[in-house]
């Protein structure tokens, strides 16, 4: 059985213009110890999807479908059971560690809070546990006494990861954990994350718009567009040979250094993702698609299994 399973998940946000669909039928599974990358532009629904795992969406959001953790559905769970799931089965590392940490609390107190609440260790050992956590993410002990503003961006992001680890979850969801960071610090943080996933045999969902980051850290990648998955596959294979026209555009946006075709030829993708209130008919991607034909605006795209775990949702790909 998969550790985490999304079964036909739909999320709609209530607004003045009616219900806006942010996630439109996603089915995905994460096995224990597996790292799944979710790629896509802002507004494609990737963070919304991740937030369903811990039921962190605002009340204006209506969620349908099933989100199974170890077989039990998070969406219908009672409060007490959900509380046990949060932190100890699945934990989130939010984007923008700058804003996610409490600015007036020392690092050690913020780290200790979930440990105390979930009583994972006797209270006499909390301090010890905090120090171990910091060590796991490669931070010096001196950081325990610091306030968030005294830390650099990379250090704060490590504190966020340490917090997520506090109750030894089986799954970590990291939402753009390195977006605002420098390449070198990004490499450090990604290394910490992948090392932990490997050492502790955790599952991880990594969300990013940078396919390159996902390809180097994940086992599998799912690409989202307008609330749906348009392509899934083994990370490196998908990055090396993307099939869906949208994935191709995303992959081309971050050039490979040394690739003569990318020299003086930055690749963009014209237009913007559709607004949630106005999702195009047929294939949602057709207005921006480089290879769309007339029928793409009418008929819904079919799911094509290309073998070796690759699926593409497009009428123009495959046999």
């Amino acid at each position: 059985m998969s550790f985490l399973e999304f079964c036909d998940v739909h999320v709609e946000y209530a607004s003045n213009h009616g219900m806006l669909p942010a996630v439109r039928g996603v089915s995905l599974a994460v096995e224990p110890g597996e790292t799944l990358g979710i790629a896509g532009e802002s507004g494609c629904g990737k963070s919304t999807l991740a937030a369903t795992v811990l039921r962190l969406l605002p009340e204006s959001a209506a969620v349908r479908g099933k989100v199974l953790i170890d077989g039990s559905d998070v969406l219908t769970m009672g409060w007490g059971q959900l509380r046990a799931v949060r932190w100890s089965q699945a934990a989130i590392v939010f984007q923008g560690a700058m804003h996610a940490l409490n600015p007036v609390q020392r690092v050690r107190d913020q780290l200790a809070e979930p440990i105390r609440l979930h009583r994972t260790v006797p209270s006499s050992e909390v301090g010890e546990r905090v120090r171990n956590l910091l060590e796991q993410v490669g931070l010096a002990k001196s950081v325990t006494k610091a306030y968030p503003n005294e830390l650099s961006g990379g250090q704060r992001q490590r504190v966020m990861i340490a917090m997520a680890l506090a109750c030894e979850p089986d799954l970590i969801i990291a939402d753009e954990p390195t977006t605002a960071l420098d390449v070198m610090v990004q490499a450090q943080v990604l290394r910490v994350l992948t090392g932990l996933v490997h050492d502790l045999n955790m599952g991880m969902i990594l969300i990013s718009h940078d396919l390159g980051v996902l390809a180097t850290t994940c086992d599998r990648i799912a690409v989202m567009y307008a609330g749906r998955i348009v392509e899934t596959g083994v990370a490196r294979e998908l990055f090396d040979a993307p099939e869906h026209p949208y994935t191709r555009a995303l992959a081309a946006a971050f050039p490979r250094i040394g690739d003569p075709l990318a020299r003086y030829a930055p690749q963009g993708l014209p237009g913007d993702p559709p607004s949630l209130g106005d999702i195009p008919t047929g294939c949602a991607f057709h207005p921006r698609c480089a290879i769309a034909i007339a029928s793409c605006s009418e008929s819904a795209p079919r799911v094509v299994e290309l073998g070796h775990h690759r699926t593409v949702v497009c009428n123009l790909v495959g046999p």
């Binding site: 070198m184 490499a187 290394r191 971050f254 040394g258 020299r263 003086y264 690749q267």
Partner: protein, 307 residues
């Protein structure tokens, strides 16, 4: 040569040497990428090139004449050398329409001509067409890419010779990024603009830059043609930076420990030696001369050519 820095240093307070001796020439019509980690001094160097901070040592020259720091001279200079900020949402006043945002420079600098025509032309130039449709829109009604274009239009309307772009695409989605970079290339082609792009994104440099200058702790440690520096980096720092760019041709990543060190405590000898994976004893003590910062491929490393 249109813009050049000669032996420029910028010191904050008594000890912080944000820029610590830099030579850099920008030739007319070229795109140069200035790359490095946060805190390496690249933004401070850019600000000194814009006349926004006065170097504590060295000279900035524009078209051969040293920059003068009187208010009047600086104002004239700034219409020639324009800054494009990162974070277009922060750079635009949320209560100004697109028209006002773009026309602001015309009003401040008293540019002659029909304001409406100038604004139209600038918006069309950056691909916001038809321009009239954008006049009365507010920043929040635009997409990230459109906002960045508005910021660029506001700079272009003064008909500058040089653009200095600080992380022009770092907050943009992958798909928009390519469009903005293509725009920079097109502007260089059409207007013979010279562009300095300040960034930590090496892929961007590969996409658009003719030359790359790599900065570390206040100095340029390697510079030269982008095609050489990025495919055959010589400085251990450039090698490390290149090795952590996420792409799947996984060379062995050299992940340096710690973050860029403190500009108030610059190590003696080679400033990179405490983090350098190949440093030898002499690196702690031997001073390394400042690079010329012109067209050739130069490396500020004792061990160059020896490894």
């Amino acid at each position: 040569m249109i813009l050049s820095a000669r032996d420029v240093a910028v010191t904050f307070g008594r000890q912080t040497r944000a820029v610590d001796g830099v030579n850099l020439d920008l030739v007319k019509g070229e795109i140069v990428a200035l790359v490095g980690e946060s805190g390496c001094g690249k933004t401070t160097l850019a600000r000194s090139l814009l006349g926004l901070v006065r170097p504590s040592r060295g000279v900035i020259s524009f078209e051969g004449s040293p920059l003068e720091y009187s208010t009047r001279r600086l104002k004239a200079y700034r219409s020639q050398v324009q800054l494009i900020l990162q974070d277009p949402l922060g750079a635009l006043n949320p209560r100004h329409t697109v028209y006002d945002a773009v026309a602001e420079g015309v009003r401040i600098h008293g540019i002659p001509g029909d304001e409406k025509q100038l604004v139209s032309a600038a918006l069309a130039r950056v691909g916001l067409r038809p321009p009239e449709q954008f006049f009365l829109r507010y920043p929040h009604e635009l997409s990230g890419g459109q906002r960045q274009r508005v910021v660029i239009a506001g700079a272009l309307i003064l008909q500058p010779r040089v653009l200095i772009a600080d992380e022009p695409v770092s907050s943009l989605d992958a798909s928009v990024r390519g469009e903005i970079l293509s725009l920079l290339l097109r502007l260089r082609e059409e207007l013979q603009l010279t562009v300095l792009v300040v960034t930590h994104d090496l892929g961007l440099a590969w996409n658009v830059a003719d030359r790359v200058a790599v900065m570390y702790l206040g100095r340029i440690v390697e510079c030269g043609p982008a095609s050489e520096v990025l495919t055959n980096p010589q400085h251990p720092y450039t090698k490390a930076l290149m090795s952590v760019v996420p792409d799947v041709s996984q060379k062995d990543a050299i992940v340096l420990q710690g973050e860029a060190p403190d500009a108030s405590r610059i190590p003696a000898g080679c400033r990179f030696h405490p983090r350098c994976p190949v440093a030898i004893d002499q690196c702690r003590t031997t001073m390394i001369p400042i690079l010329v910062g012109s067209e050739g491929h130069e490396v500020a490393c004792l061990l160059k050519g020896k490894s």
